[in-house]
């Protein structure tokens, strides 16, 4: 997209944002293919983390689908939270961030080789989450070395902040209150207790939830200051069978975020793929991701997007509005008094960098919680895959012949790329490409004199 068009897009976006509530993707730069099936991955969670110095805001998506009475979560938090530090927000914001940073498929249409572009884009959003839940009933009295540090009702949730002296007591307390703790969770709890970490326990307040009029549970947010920059995943792996997926969106001021205790690897990107991937983008992405995970010994965290939020190219969704970013914890939005501002296209006061990390984890390969670190790296990266539609017209010139002759080689390259990325059989790929209009046969060259009289039916 050239600069003028991009600026026009932003101008238009600003207008739309000003006049409508955030959420709901409106396409400007061409049209979207409908987002790929959100249930691509089983057991996936979405988390957004704002981090600036020691200030942290964590937003946890909640895709629990069962009986609301039965829902509860246990989240380790480093400090006892005040009521004002807990908040419930709209899931549309996380979905928007997800769509904005999702790996994207871009299509180009080859121009007439005898002469001289159009541009479409579509995006695939990350799959929705299914949170790890623990069933709950009523609250109990503490006598097991468990202290209920605080109790609040925020939004549709009843929240308790617990601290415990030892894990047996905490486990007993949770069991007494109807929480079904999986085996092995006690050791993990013990580790957290010894690190002086508290437990944020939330379950649904049915009256408040009914009052919201919503059929789903909204994301929970916590804000605090702590030197730890981490995401606790160990409790989630305790009883999980198979791998779980996590999408973490980091919003920072300085630059890209990476893990300290695991390898962060960039997703393979910027590659040409066969045309039939257009209708199978979700399947392609999943296969490619799984293969990448295997290649890294199942021990890596994948970087799928790292970009300054004041611009995007191509934009897979509208940029997030200032209100949405503030909701996610970006408290410095709109603050023009900051020193060392970066000049960037778009809103100059928007000094936000977003990192999207995707990890497929289990207890064996990821025994330690994810520990992060913010670097000053502001270079851009996105998962981008390119479709190149061949020119199908009836161009008649030498350049067109050369062009058509080069196509089978190009298709072969795309097929090899796809095979390498996904591990699919190359023969099957070629077959499907041929069915999709990408033939591997070298075209028959028309003799030069045929071009002279074309389809003229008059014979001499």
């Amino acid at each position: 997209m050239n600069r003028k068009l991009r600026n026009a897009l932003f101008a238009a976006t600003a207008v739309v944002a000003a006049t409508s509530v955030a959420g709901g993707a409106v396409a400007f730069c061409g049209f979207y293919v409908a987002k790929a099936d959100t249930k691509l991955f089983n057991k996936a969670s979405k988390v957004a983390i704002m981090r600036d110095g020691e200030r942290t805001v964590i937003t946890m998506a909640n895709d629990y689908k069962g009986d609301l009475k039965e829902f509860a979560i246990v989240v380790p938090v480093p400090v006892v939270l005040e009521e004002g530090q807990i908040h419930v927000t709209d899931s549309a914001i996380l979905d928007h961030l997800d769509a904005y940073t999702a790996p994207r498929l871009v299509e180009y249409f080859d121009e007439d080789p005898c002469r001289q572009y159009r541009y479409n884009e579509m995006a695939m959003a990350a799959p929705a989450a299914e949170s790890i839940t623990v069933t709950a009933r009523k609250r109990g009295v503490d006598s097991l070395g468990v202290t209920i540090e605080a109790e609040y009702t925020v939004g549709e949730y009843d929240i308790q902040i617990l601290s415990a002296k030892e894990s047996g007591g905490l486990a007993e307390f949770l069991k007494q209150n109807g929480y079904k703790l999986p085996d092995g969770a006690e050791e993990t709890l013990a580790s957290y207790i010894r690190q002086n970490i508290k437990f944020f326990v939330a379950k649904v307040n049915l009256e408040e939830q009914a009052a919201t009029g919503l059929k789903y549970l909204r994301p929970l947010q916590v804000a605090f200051e702590d030197k730890r920059f981490m995401l606790p995943i160990r409790l989630g792996t305790v009883n999980a069978d198979g791998k779980q997926e996590l999408f973490a969106f980091m919003l920072t001021r300085k630059g890209r975020v990476e893990t300290v205790n695991y390898r962060t690897v960039k997703l393979p990107s910027d590659m040409d793929v066969p045309l039939y991937v257009k209708d199978n983008f979700g399947t392609f992405y999943k296969a490619m991701f799984e293969r990448s995970v295997e290649r890294e010994g199942e021990r890596a965290v994948f970087l799928e997007y790292a970009w300054d939020m004041s611009w995007c190219d191509p934009c897979a969704a509208d940029p997030l509005s200032d209100e949405e970013l503030k909701e996610l914890g970006v408290y410095w939005i709109g603050d023009t008094s900051q020193p060392g501002q970066r000049i960037a296209p778009g809103n100059p006061a928007r000094d936000v960098f977003v990192t999207r990390l995707h990890v497929s984890y289990d207890a064996e390969h990821f025994p330690e919680d994810l520990m992060f670190k913010e670097t000053g790296d502001r270079s851009n990266f996105q998962g981008r895959y390119v479709l190149r539609h061949p020119y199908k017209g009836d161009a008649q010139c030498d350049a067109a012949d050369a062009y058509r002759a080069s196509l089978p080689e190009r298709y072969e390259g795309e097929a090899q790329t796809l095979a390498r990325l996904t591990g699919w059989e190359i023969d099957k790929i070629r077959e499907r490409m041929a069915k999709g209009g990408q033939s591997f046969e070298t075209p028959k060259k028309d003799s030069w004199w045929k071009r002279l009289w074309g389809n003229d039916s008059k014979d001499g």
Binding site: E187, A190, S191, R194, Q195, K227, R228, F229, M230, K254, G255, E258, T259, V260, N261, Y262, R263, T264, V265, K266, G297, R299, A300, E364, P367, E368, M371, K373, T375, G376, D377, R378, S379
Partner: protein, 289 residues
């Protein structure tokens, strides 16, 4: 009859270090997707050499190409940046500190470490990506082997071994205290950057204490400080800060436990292996200048 075997005398341990670090860098670029470009490496190289030349001239010393090359490799292995100038600045600070910050004729800071710490503390333009080295055991072992050869040649094998031993004891102790699975500390110890740091940076014979006891204290204190910075204060770059702090204290350690100062080219003690039938023992040539 027993034969005493002394390894070939390449007079200067730095040749081994250059070879080892270059190999590790090559592996990193080819197999671990290190994100440093040839232009950046070239810029660092040029800056290191330029500052070394300037420093040598100003101090009427002979120009030495081996140390700035090693500093170039160390910076290329550990420091990352979007642009070129932050790495050049790190190189300037690194080599500059070697000439500018001295006590009793010995420079205080390991040059690459000084450059890295200065950039980490004062700007966001450069950073380390120690996590990127991953925990592939083969890589860690390769680095350890290469590093052992280098440090043994420089008669400093005790430093990385004591450092890693102390650090391992601390992370395993922490895991046992917390009741964590032991795979957690094991994962931390398999990190390639930690092994590189132990064998190629902290073991620098020019910035470690001269006496054996002093070196042991130095290594243990560095491990303890690094551990505290990383696991109590959650400073990911704790390794580098710990070394920086310890090298600052090193003159004191030397004063308390003096030993003979290390010169490049001093061969290590000969290894005595019992081998069947004899050739005469090799003689040890005098240390190079």
């Amino acid at each position: 009859m027993l034969r005493t075997f002394t390894p070939p005398q390449l007079s200067d341990a730095r040749y081994f270090q250059i070879a080892g670090q270059a190999a590790i860098l090559a592996i990193g670029l080819l197999l671990r997707e290190f994100e440093i470009t040839p232009i950046q490496i070239g810029a660092v190289l040029a800056t290191c050499f330029a500052v070394q030349w300037l420093g040598s001239t100003l101090n009427a010393m002979r120009f030495d190409w081996r140390s700035p090359l090693i500093t170039t490799l160390s910076l290329s292995l550990l420091l990352r940046s979007d642009g070129v100038w932050p790495l050049m600045l790190a190189a300037m600070i690194a080599i500059g500190s070697k000439f500018a910050i001295r006590l009793y004729g010995k420079h205080i800071f390991n040059p690459a470490n000084a450059g890295i710490v200065a950039m980490l503390l004062f700007t966001d333009a450069a950073w380390t990506t120690t996590g990127q080295w991953g925990t592939a055991l083969w890589f860690a072992i390769f680095i350890a082997i290469a590093g052992s050869v280098v440090t043994w040649r420089a008669a400093r094998l005790d430093v990385p071994l004591i450092f890693l031993g102390a650090y391992a004891a601390l992370v395993f102790g922490r895991a046992l205290y917390l009741g964590d699975p032991l795979s957690i500390p094991l994962l931390r110890l398999e990190n390639g950057a930690l092994i590189l740091f132990a064998f190629f940076m902290i073991s620098d014979p020019k910035t470690t204490p001269d006496g054996a006891i002093g070196r042991a204290v130095f290594a243990i204190a560095a491990a303890a400080l690094a551990f505290v910075l990383q696991f109590n204060f959650f400073i990911a770059d704790g390794l580098f800060y710990a070394l920086f702090a310890l090298t600052l204290v090193r003159p004191l350690i030397d004063w308390l436990n003096p030993g003979s100062r290390y010169e490049w080219g001093t061969p290590p003690a000969p290894v005595r292996l019992a081998l069947p039938s004899g050739a005469p023992a090799h003689s040890r040539p005098a240390p190079a200048e």
